[in-house]
Amino acid sequence: MTSTTTTPRSATAPVALHGVTKVYGHGANAVLALDGVSLDVAPGEFVCLVGASGCGKSTLLNLVAGLDRPSGGRIDLPDGVNPGLMFQEPALFPWQTVEGNVEVPLKLRGLPRAARRERVAELLRTVHLADFGRKRPHELSGGMRQRVALARTLALDTPVLLMDEPFGALDAMTRDILHDELERIWTERKLTVLFVTHNVREAARLADRIILLSSRPGRIIYSTRVDVPRPRRIDSPEVSAIAAEVTDRLRTEVGRHGQ
């Protein structure tokens, strides 16, 4: 679209999970966190995983990110793709400036200094933080820190983004704006996003498809497409209707554990 943006590689193959199982511990103490989760996320698709506590949402993202190994099943990523991972906390390096943080993945990829500087400036413009490059993380607000974390993840130039409740700790106003931002960046960069949240409205606001996981063990129990045209508003009737439907399913699932 704009010539200054270096276009990241877009994914050509889906992120595919085949019967992924994860067991923690051994013997009598073993806990089944994920039980046979199969899922295809198409290139460019935005999928939200929703579930109550203990559904293994974060476990699933760790497995896809390669930070942990599944006990069973298989995860297929497009060739040569290392997914970027974002957490609920920004997880910025406090000893680095904003620029320094965004630069770390570029350094690790061996980009020369001039190219790094250009990329950092471009990424900070993307998240509207061009004027804050010299600040330190502690000088920024929570929403700004999370945008720095997004820029740092985008610096990986990966087409697949994994997000673990990235806006869970933010106030509603900031969260709304970051939803708009994420939607824009996702569209511009043709990213494939797997987004974990316990906030059903957030899922309905963002997702092409919502997937509901059961708790202990985590299994896919429900899946629905969100065919609301974009850009969306979190308070629009269409989004609310979808959210209400998913919430009902989620409550039924949570209620099952009360007996």
């Binding site: 760790n62 990110a65 930070l67 290392n82 970027g84 991972l85 957490f87 906390e89 997880a91 390096f93 406090p94 000893w95 680095q96 770390v104 993945p105 350094k107 690790l108 990829r109 509207h128 804050f132 330190r136 993380p137 502690h138 000088e139 920024l140 607000s141 929570g142 929403g143 700004m144 740092r152 993840t153 990986l156 106003m173 900031t174 704006i177 708009d180 931002e181 850009p231």
Partner: protein
Amino acid sequence: MASDTLTTAQRSDAEISGLDALEIAGRDKETSRAAQLWAATWPKIAALALAVGIWQVVAWTGWKEPWVLPPPGPVLADLGEYVLSAALWDGLATTGRRAALGFAAALVIGLALGLAVARVRVLRAALGSMITALQTMPSIAWFPLAILLFGLTEQAIFFVVVLGAAPSIANGVIYGVDYVPPLLLRAGRNLGARRLNLYRYVIAPAALPAIVAGLKQGWAFAWRSLMAGELLVVIATRTSIGAQLTYARDFSDAERLIAIMIVILVVGLVVDAAFGAADRAIRRRWGVLDPAGQ
């Protein structure tokens, strides 16, 4: 449609910068440098004046003869003379060289030992508690053995200084590596930092504050060990600060004796302040310095 999306984009830009400005407003309150300096300095000056005052009062009471406990006036006069003499600067050169060498060796050993223990489980089981035990050992208790092993030599002093400082530094490293937030490790690994790069980009900088705290404590131990060593291991050809302190006692020169003690105190304080400044600079950069706490 095109103009519609454009205005939406502009509005959202304004919203974002507006929200940012509101949220970080009032975070940059700064008092003037001079005011900060004065606030930090005057209590110290007052305390010093109080201490000197008490010393003067004790001297006036005649509790001890003036050739045993001289009042502040003559001591400070002697200190002025001493500061201008070659004896002090020769002594400081000798003592400073020993401190620097001993501390540098302790630094290398402490870092290597700390990293090894933090990384290797067997070494941790074997050496972890031993390092802490070594730290609690008063360094002066090592001197009889050191003198037996090395005689009244530089090596004996060096040996004890290193033994005094290295465990503290190693403990700082172990503590620092142990308490790197796991989230930062996960973030670092996801960004592509593996093995040595994980150390370079995440573990080492994250452990730095604890390591500096270990260095500060290590210095305190090194300086004490060194002073004990210089009192015990007097090498006639090298008039270190500690040796001069011994001579002053031998000649019953109380004024010089106290003047030398003041020099030892000041050197220790200056180096400690340098470590403290480094520590505060790191914490300020990290945003973990509580401005009200300082």
